[in-house]
Amino acid sequence: MVRARSLILGEDESAPAGNVVTVGEEVEEIEGEGEEDYFKFKKCQVMAIAKKVVELCEEAKQFEAEFSDCEPTSTSTSTTILQLFKLLVPRQQSQAIKTSPKRCAVFHNSCLFLAHSSVTLNPSFLSLYPSFTRLGCDALADLIDGQREEIESVVRGGMEVSECRQLVNGVAKLLGGSRLTPLASFQFILLGAALRGGDC
């Protein structure tokens, strides 16, 4: 547990918080028929911490199997390590997850990887699956919502449109202060956008 805690808190030098590793398998997609195997974890990048956490869980599982006749339960060391990740990492890296698309995507993948691993470690850990998937998907959805708002505000009121508005105002001044009609304003905005190569 001490090893797990220092690993999750980024104190373990073998797996710094920002490091990523590739996990999973290449899943071939058959055209028109979807994916080949739904039960394989698709190849993607996850936090190095997440991979180490799974390794620690496997170690703990083996240790428990050696010293106990019972099957691992929901109160076993493995589940506690997984719960520790779920509680500490979102707090520890909250700023990066909220602001960096790459870090957020890696965190999302890590959560899905741990959800998948928790079930493959032991089917009795199934209760952890939805909480991990929700954690990862919510983080990515929040980031996407934030980025969407930013994109919308840039497209609606960004530099290019402001330039066009300034152009419209400039022309209005030249015309003796008379205001342009909405149609003329619209044409100027579109003209400005077209001059930039069709990228608004």
Binding site: I144, M159, F186, Q187, L190, G198, D199
Partner: protein, 154 residues
């Protein structure tokens, strides 16, 4: 600028997320660009012929750039474009509407009337009657032809 932002974010997602999650996430970002542009165009009450050409040009460029941001695994080059459009339809809720509005501005009343007689199929599916009426009224001046198209819409 919007597309530039989408491509910058999608580049960060590119090697990290798997194709399914990547296309789903980038599709939502593309929708933000499509939505903002559609809002401007749908609000216009009077659009000249010159503006129509510009809108068509912009919509084509932005639409193409959006589609190219999505990942498409297709081995056959002749089917690539079709597959890309299919993926855009699946992941962007505004793609069809954006495409239809862009194409609308390349049409004259005869073509619109013909499309309506033929049923239009997928083309008009994404636009409501009110939206179509608004576009026709903003783009074409009062005429018998326009009245016929508007009547056919009801």
């Amino acid at each position: 600028m919007g597309n530039l932002m989408v491509s910058r974010i999608s580049a960060q997602f590119s090697n990290v997320l798997n194709t399914l999650h990547y296309n789903h996430s980038v599709g939502k970002l593309i929708d933000a660009v499509f939505g903002a542009l559609l809002e401007v165009v749908m609000m216009a009450s009077d659009v000249s012929a010159v503006a129509c050409e510009k809108i068509e040009e912009i919509f084509e460029g932005v639409g193409r750039a959006g589609v190219e941001c999505l990942k498409c695994c297709c081995s056959q080059i002749d089917k690539l474009e079709q597959m890309q459009i299919e993926i855009a339809r699946e992941n962007s809720s505004l793609f069809e509407k954006f495409d239809a509005v862009g194409k609308f501005f390349s049409m004259n009343l005869n073509m619109i009337g013909r499309k309506m007689v033929e049923g239009g199929g997928d083309f008009w599916r994404s636009l409501t009657k009110e939206e179509m009426r608004g576009l026709v009224e903003a783009t074409f001046g009062q005429s018998e032809k326009r009245d016929n198209v508007l009547k056919a819409l009801v």
